[in-house]
C-alpha cells in the first residue's frame, strides 16, 4: 500500500478531480506533441511529462482568488485554474481564439481572469512578479496567497534570490515551488548547485522549506495547502521542493541522450498518474470503471479542443500592430 493515504485529509472528490487534471494535462500535452510532429504547431513543444503532479497539486490547493505565477511546465496549473483545453490548443496553433489571440504561443499562457500570471521565458522572472502580487495582497489586507513556480535551473538566477529575500523580509503571503526534475536542459543538478536538496536554497532567507515527492499529487497538494494557510495567516513564505523527473527531452527536439536510461526506468515506475491510480484502486476509493469514464471524458475534451483549434481562424495580419499599449497614445501615423 502506498504512503499516499497516510494522514491524508483529502476528499474523495478532490482526489478524483486531481486524477482528472493529471490525465487531462498528460493527454493534452501528448496531443500537442503529436500536432507538433505533424507540423501543425510551430516553433517547439515542451511538456511537463512525468512531473504533472507538481502543477496540478499546487494549483488545486489554491483558492479561487489566489494567484498562480507560473513557469513553463505548469500545464496542470493552467487547466486547474480553469483555462480551457480549447483555448490552450488554439493558443498552440496560433489561432485568434487562443489564450493570447495568436500574439504568443506554446507554453506562454497567462490569463488574469483565471488568476494566472503568464510565463515570461526568462526563468525565475515570475518569482519577483509573484512576490509583487503577494505584496499587493498584504498592502490591501486581503487574505489571498500566491503560488510561484520555477525549475531547479531557475533557482540559480538572481531573480530567484531577490524574490526569496524580499518575500522573507516582508513575510509575504507567497509559496515558492520548485519543480526539481533533476535537469535544466542538459545540465544535471550537481552542475547547477553544490547542495543536495534544492530546498537548502531557502536557508539563505530564513524561510521554512519542505521537500515533497513531486510525483505524488496528494503530497504536493497537502504541502501546498498547509503552506498557503500559513501564508494566509501572516506566517510568511515557504519554499517547497517537489522532487520529480523530466521524462522527455528538454523539448521535443531533444533526445536527452545525456540522461542515464536507468534513471528514467526508475522514475517510470513512479509515474504520477500510475501512482494515484494505484492508490485510488487499492484503497477502494474508486473503481476502474469510474477512472475509465474520466479517461473517456478527457479524450473527448481533447478531441473537441483540437477540433475547435483547427477550425478556429488565424488572427488577421493587421493584429500584428495592435495591443502594444493598454492605453495607446494616438494612432501612429503611417510612415511609409
Amino acid at each position: 500500500m502506498l504512503e499516499y493515504g497516510e494522514d491524508m485529509d483529502i476528499k474523495r472528490d478532490d482526489l478524483l478531480q486531481m486524477y482528472y487534471y493529471l490525465r487531462l494535462t498528460r493527454r493534452l500535452e501528448e496531443r500537442i506533441t503529436s500536432l507538433y510532429h505533424q507540423g501543425k504547431i510551430l516553433g517547439g513543444a515542451w511538456t511537463s511529462n512525468g512531473t504533472e503532479a507538481v502543477s496540478v497539486g499546487y494549483a488545486y490547493a489554491l483558492e479561487k482568488n489566489d494567484i498562480a505565477a507560473t513557469y513553463f511546465r505548469d500545464m496542470g496549473a493552467f487547466l486547474v485554474r480553469g483555462i480551457s483545453p480549447k483555448r490552450i490548443m488554439a493558443h498552440y496553433l496560433g489561432k485568434k481564439t487562443g489564450v493570447s489571440g495568436g500574439k504568443d504561443g506554446n507554453v506562454h499562457i497567462g490569463d488574469l481572469n483565471h488568476g494566472v500570471f503568464g510565463f515570461p521565458s526568462h526563468l525565475a522572472d515570475n518569482y519577483p512578479v509573484g512576490t509583487g502580487a503577494a505584496l499587493a495582497f498584504m498592502i490591501r489586507g486581503e487574505k489571498k496567497v500566491v503560488a510561484a513556480c520555477t525549475g531547479d535551473g531557475g533557482t540559480s538566477r538572481g531573480d530567484f534570490h531577490e524574490a526569496m529575500n524580499l518575500a522573507s523580509v516582508r513575510k509575504l503571503p507567497i509559496v515558492f515551488f520548485c519543480n526539481n526534475n533533476q535537469y535544466a536542459y542538459s545540465t544535471p543538478l550537481r552542475m547547477q548547485m553544490a547542495i543536495k536538496d534544492v530546498a537548502e536554497r531557502a536557508l539563505a532567507y530564513g524561510m521554512p522549506n519542505k521537500i515533497v515527492d513531486g510525483n505524488n499529487v496528494a503530497a504536493v497538494y497537502t504541502a501546498a495547502k498547509e503552506a498557503y494557510e500559513y501564508a494566509r495567516n501572516g506566517g510568511g513564505p515557504t519554499f517547497i521542493e517537489c522532487k520529480t523527473m523530466r521524462m522527455h527531452g528538454h523539448s521535443e527536439h531533444d533526445s536527452a541522450k545525456y540522461v542515464p536510461r536507468e534513471l528514467l526506468e526508475e522514475w517510470k515506475k513512479k509515474d504520477p498518474i500510475l501512482t494515484i491510480e494505484k492508490f485510488l484502486l487499492e484503497n477502494n476509493i474508486t473503481k476502474k470503471e469510474e477512472l475509465d469514464d474520466i479517461d473517456a471524458r478527457v479524450e473527448e475534451e481533447i478531441d473537441e479542443a483540437e477540433r475547435f483549434a483547427i477550425e478556429s481562424p488565424f488572427p488577421d495580419p493587421e493584429e500584428t500592430f495592435t495591443g502594444v499599449y493598454a492605453t495607446p497614445v494616438e494612432a501612429d501615423e503611417n510612415v511609409m
Binding site: 494567484i67 502580487a133 505584496l135 498592502i139 531577490e162 524580499l166 492605453t327 501615423e333
Partner: protein, 324 residues
Amino acid sequence: MREISYLEAIREALDEEMTRDPSVFILGEDVGVYGGAFRITEGFYEKYGELRVLDTPLSESGFTGAAIGASLVGMRPVVEMQFADFISCAFDQIVNVAAKNHYRWGAATPIVIRAPYGGNIHGGAFHSQSIEGFFFNVPGLKIVAPSTAYDAKGLLIASIRDNDPVIYCEHKYLYRRIKDPVPEEEYTVPIGKARVALEGKDISIITYGAMVHTTLEAAQTLKEDGISCEIIDLRTILPLDKNSIFTTVKKTNKVVIVHEQTKTGGVGAEISALINEQCFEYLDGPVFRVTAPDTPVPYSAPLEETFIPKAEDVISAVEKLMRY
C-alpha cells in the same frame, strides 16, 4: 501662481496621488524611513505607513518585478531607482515582462519607474547616465522626461494614472535648480504631447530634459543676433509626438536636435530619421544634432564640462545651419 521646485513638484505629485488613490504605493531603496536619497519621499513614511512607502532590500530586479506583479492585481506602484543608472539591474524585468505583458497576453502593467538621471553633478560614469537609450527601442514602454516643475508634476500624475509601464526620467541637475509656477489645483500633462517652450520662426530646436534650459539660454543669445528659435520640449520621448515635430519643421524648415544622451543611437537619431522620412521637402538644410559624445560620463570637471552640451554648442550648430 506660487512657484515650486522641480523636486517639490515630483513630491507633490506623489503625495497627491497617494492620497487620492489607495492603489498607489512607492517602493525602492531607502524611500521609507530615510525619505529617499534625494529626499523626494520625505515624510511619506510617517504619512502613509511602511507598506505604501516600502523600503526594499538592495535588489532592483526583485523590486521592479514585484511592482509588475502588484500592478497585475490592481495596484499602481511607483518604483524609485536610487539613481537611474541602477535601472540596468532591472532591465530584464522591464523589457521582457513589463513591456511585453499587454501585447502577449493582454495584461496591463501600470507601473511607473522613477529614474533620477543625467549628469553635470560630478557623479561619474555610474551616477550620471541618461538611460533613455536602454529602452528607446523597446515597444510597449513609455518614456517621459519633464524639464519644468509644471511638467514634472503633471507628467508624473499622468504616468501614475496611465495603464502602461512608464519610465519617468527626472533630471537630477534640475531638482533644486528649477522653479516655476505650478497650480495648486489638480492637473495632468498628457503623455505623448510635446510643448512649444519658445515660439520662433527661423529655426526649430527639438530637445527635452535639462537641455531645454541650455537651449533656452542659447536662444536668448541668438535672439540678440536676430535669430528667432522655436524650441520644442518633447516631454514624452516614447512614443514621440510626431505631429509637434513635423509642425515645427514645416514652419521653420531648419532643425537642430539637442540632447544630453550620447549621440549614436540616441533619441535625436530617430527624430532626424522621422523628419527626413516625412518632411524631406520641407528641409532647408541638414538636421544637426548637438549631443554628448559617444563616451561614458567622465568624472573630472574639465571632462564632464566637455561631455555635457553647452549653450555655445547649440549656438554654433544653429549658426552653422542658418548659414547653410
